[in-house]
Symmetry: C2
Subunit: 728 residues, 2 copies
Amino acid sequence: MIKKGKLLNFTSIFRFGYPFHTNATLIKLEESNLMKTNTVKFFDVEIGDKSEIILTYKLNKKDIVYGLGENLGGLNKRGKKYRLFANDDPLHTPEKEALYGSHPFLIIDGKKSFGFFIDYPSEILFDIGFTDFDTLKITILKAEFDLYIFDSENKKDIIKEYLQLTGTPYIPPKWAFGFQQSRWSYYDSKAVQEVANSFRKKDIPCDAIYLDIDYMDSYKVFTVDDKKFPDFTNLVSQLKEDGFKLIPIIDPGVKVEEGYDIYEEGKDKGYFCKKQDGTDFIGTVWPGQTNFPDFINPEVRKWWGNLYKKIVDCGVEGFWNDMNEPAIFFTPDGLSGFKEEYEKIKDNPNVGFDFFKIKDKVLGISNRGEDYKNFYHNANGKKICHYDLHNLYGFNMCLATSEGFKTFQPNKRYFLLSRSSYAGLHRFCAIWMGDNQSWWEHMLGHIKMLISLNMCGFFYTGADVGGFGGNSSPEMVIRWMQLGAFTPLYRNHSALGTRQQEPYAFDSDTEDIIRNIIKFRYALIPYIYSEFMRSVIELSPFISALAFNFSDDTSKNIEDQFMFGSSLMVCPIYTPNTRGRFVYLPDVKWLKWNVSKYDERKFKVFNKGSYFIDTKLDEIPVFLKENTLILMGKPSNYVGEKETKELSVIGFVTDRASFSYYDDDGISNSYNDGKFSTINIIVEKKDDKYKIHAKVEETDNFKTKIKKLKFEIYDDKGNIFIKSIDLK
Amino acid sequence: MIKKGKLLNFTSIFRFGYPFHTNATLIKLEESNLMKTNTVKFFDVEIGDKSEIILTYKLNKKDIVYGLGENLGGLNKRGKKYRLFANDDPLHTPEKEALYGSHPFLIIDGKKSFGFFIDYPSEILFDIGFTDFDTLKITILKAEFDLYIFDSENKKDIIKEYLQLTGTPYIPPKWAFGFQQSRWSYYDSKAVQEVANSFRKKDIPCDAIYLDIDYMDSYKVFTVDDKKFPDFTNLVSQLKEDGFKLIPIIDPGVKVEEGYDIYEEGKDKGYFCKKQDGTDFIGTVWPGQTNFPDFINPEVRKWWGNLYKKIVDCGVEGFWNDMNEPAIFFTPDGLSGFKEEYEKIKDNPNVGFDFFKIKDKVLGISNRGEDYKNFYHNANGKKICHYDLHNLYGFNMCLATSEGFKTFQPNKRYFLLSRSSYAGLHRFCAIWMGDNQSWWEHMLGHIKMLISLNMCGFFYTGADVGGFGGNSSPEMVIRWMQLGAFTPLYRNHSALGTRQQEPYAFDSDTEDIIRNIIKFRYALIPYIYSEFMRSVIELSPFISALAFNFSDDTSKNIEDQFMFGSSLMVCPIYTPNTRGRFVYLPDVKWLKWNVSKYDERKFKVFNKGSYFIDTKLDEIPVFLKENTLILMGKPSNYVGEKETKELSVIGFVTDRASFSYYDDDGISNSYNDGKFSTINIIVEKKDDKYKIHAKVEETDNFKTKIKKLKFEIYDDKGNIFIKSIDLK
């Protein structure tokens, strides 16, 4: 049965059956507000053999399909199949269909443009012009979902309406825009201290150091191994003195071990997911046999959220929730299936072809659909198979975390990353892009996912800089650190057994280049933070595709350049041994800036067009858009180390440019209550002369610290106009 | 011990120890001609702990390193590690170090330029600025090799001298420049006939159809399953009538099966590789347990070469030698190693971390180094461990095949592809690029390997068009078929269980586009064949990098465009949903030709520079170089179907252009005896008028069939000059 309703400005809802309320949207619709209907706008609806719903849409030859948040393939998703079913896949090769998150929000841009969101928490298959070039085919496992259709021709309006529906993006504390260093693992206090000391000694800014799974006692969640970390609280506070936050990892799996308090409590209170027979479901993950908390149950979420407090009380201000698809290495069932196959061939060397069957069994033993079908959630007393709510597991784990934080620090922002996610998670949590590889190809994927994730509200995101799996070359780490400088989450992370890839892990030339780009990043934080906050307030992606900003045909073809805020276009180098790259400059004039040092200006004016931009190893091509401004401060060891009293306003102005500089305390949520300041800046050019306006807007609640603005304004003739003004 | 000698024009040899004579070079040096030395030109020499030899060279910041033939990474090999040890790897992800061949020929291009070739048939490790950006480090397993150094600044001269050393490239029959269709597998006569009929019915040219492993009886080499192929000879001859060659696969492994004649004979005569204890070495491959012929032994090669005769006598004119690294799925030893690991965990669900050990065991069970150390060759009575000659296995299998062919059809060219190869194999055999995937990334890899393989004499080569593993989208097959039209070996091939990807496997629009590009290819064969033969005669790569032809800095950065012969630059589209691509045009003017149909001209003059070239789905951007000509005929169903009496000469002439059109019978080796003709064509522009010369050079042995040349000459002002001339 389909029912229809109207929502917001140009959004309709089509309800199939009686969907589970996912919490993806902020809106809880009354059934009584919906009208029965037989047709769905834009789509043909069919019911498949297994009562799955098949939506099809006839694509025009030139239609572009954007969306799906965290997934592989192009920015234009056409020509590939996708499967939205949270999956811990450690090898993101191009044919893969599922990563860790499910973000069923898409925009068709073409002959007819519109957006749509399918609020369904289990498997959705997308065949976007793969089987048939002109057909978009969507298969939704069960007729129990809401389909929202955003009927607007304007891509930014569609995104805005999607975010009105699903919520304002998460805002991390300001320090989260600093550089962050991670590794699986910094094994003990000493190793962590060494990392911290190395950064400070080597004069490389850094705001956070991560703890991967090895800080725990036998991988028991919410424990700290007190042999390796004999005084954890002291470590946290020492690091804090040096300007570092320590970010421990949290896994959802609870080790089955008698006497382990969390296991005992979870078991006693029935907080773990259960099998059909009512016993606790068991899967093997890092700790060995584990149980999986039933985060669908609000009582469990409350319990889980409070468990973080023990670590927060040690001074910790952020976490990363990992393995929450949930990843399962294997179950007893999976293992015996493999055993069976193996027994058939183990003594028969004459198997030939059949050999590949056991290979497939081993490769398919983890994260099996069959296992996800074998356990159940308690949804307000109703038993629901995990498979049917699979994509909500990470979402609800993080909801628990955020609810916890809101309880024990109501007005303070928390830092929270998740690996798994569902649409709407962007309201209360950030994600990173999971286990990428040290492949050049994954740098390009990083760029595309930045854009796609920003589209669906994940403004604060990033990939593991340098690549997680595999070994990085110095050049790759340089290039990725340059790209990372222009992503909100700027985190270098690498896997066990791979080459160290900290900024100082290579030769001194490499270290110098990386130090400079990190310093540039810190100097740019006034612009980044201000633009990020503006994006959140305006519900407009912080990072966006050229095609979202320019309407010419070529812009639609560019998937490896992006707007970073509204003034800067970033054109990363993502190929090895490169002396430059092709760049497309749409619409207006651009001021080329091959960025290497924060206080160096390598500017050149370019008209719109296509160019091969020569680029040295220590440079990343960035372009300042005509008639825009950016604001820069000076680098510091960590965000907030020094009070910024003076900012540089750098502009490329041929006519008129304005910028509204936003700032707040960076820590609390009081910006909601007006505790912020803005400086409205206007630069106008008339008769070859510049006129400058700057006006502070602030309340008694929050006063800006900025006393002085230093203007550096470039025109298109190679002239530079310099002026300093004192504020007020 | 190192000895030194002088060779050719600017080539020196440095001999380490007493190398095995690999047959890579044509030169057999007398030890007495060599002088003892302590130093090696350019390189520092070190002996490692395991008596391996380590050569190091200090790279300049801007040095480019070309070479290594078939391998991953960039055209510039810097920034990666490579391992030359023939490996059947089905998943060519970017971090992989070894593919199927070993081509240890490199050119350093930079501050100091030179080339070098390491003639060593076992493991060589290259760390080309990966660990340390400025260090090229080469590790050769044993001090038993020849190092040839080509001390010239000129890249093309270095290649020429390398080819003088290792031999003139293999020339296939002319039909091999036609399109070829493969699939694992066309299972029976009916399936093969259906493929052939489809091509003819649908008016899509094609010259060859391949048989993969399933044509054999239980994968027994040199058998044909007579249930599936009841009258094999008749099938071959029927196909031939329709203009198709049938190309069966040949694997080296001989099934262990009593009564199977080849097994019995090989066993009786001691032709198989032996273990230390003298028993025949056994590994499991497609047929189950197999023995491996000892191709190092000339007697075995002779035997093996003759085995092809049975199939040649059925009318077959070509083969592909597969699995000849040799690939080994597993050995009894390997299996028991896995078993041990598995026993440890199989009943312990609390393994956590250790689970990955069994995964690694399964993934590492095939093609294990330990297995290659467990069998031996008989080299003129001397027992040599397979590991030490590993890279020669495929080489010698194909040497056997070619020796066989030369015996039973001395003056007729044979068609022979190999998967594994070693330097020098290019003299008597072609290779394809192994088991790629239907990944866009592998199209780019295809382009780079074309260039690198041409550098080391593999002029006739190509990758599996459409990708072997995984599923192709229609768009991917279109784009790859467009690229393939500009590669010498133009073969569409795909794996078991993947989507069909024959030119007619998709919708009719796709089929039309593919038909047109194949027809274009056939029309271009006069140019291709002529330029190919010129390349062979001149020992100059048929396909070459921009950097080999133009000396500007930007050309050195372009790895995704290539010269196809000396007149055409090809700029393939290798990304999805693409409406165009960036193109760099060096040095001169270029005539843009967005190729879609052979008789369509979409020309536009471009000056040197960088451009975004709009490209429709049915187009591939190709550029005709200023002051060059190409020759085109008309498409046909297969090469040689119709006698070509008339050719079009298409030129972009602003001053003077010439072309020497070569032709011969395309079948025999009599071109060696002067049985060929040339037409020397000159187009000159003076005072806005064109002057045309065309002169036939032929002997009584071979007379050209061309009676007429139709000139279509374009200038840089948009003018076209048309003229037909009759020859003689």
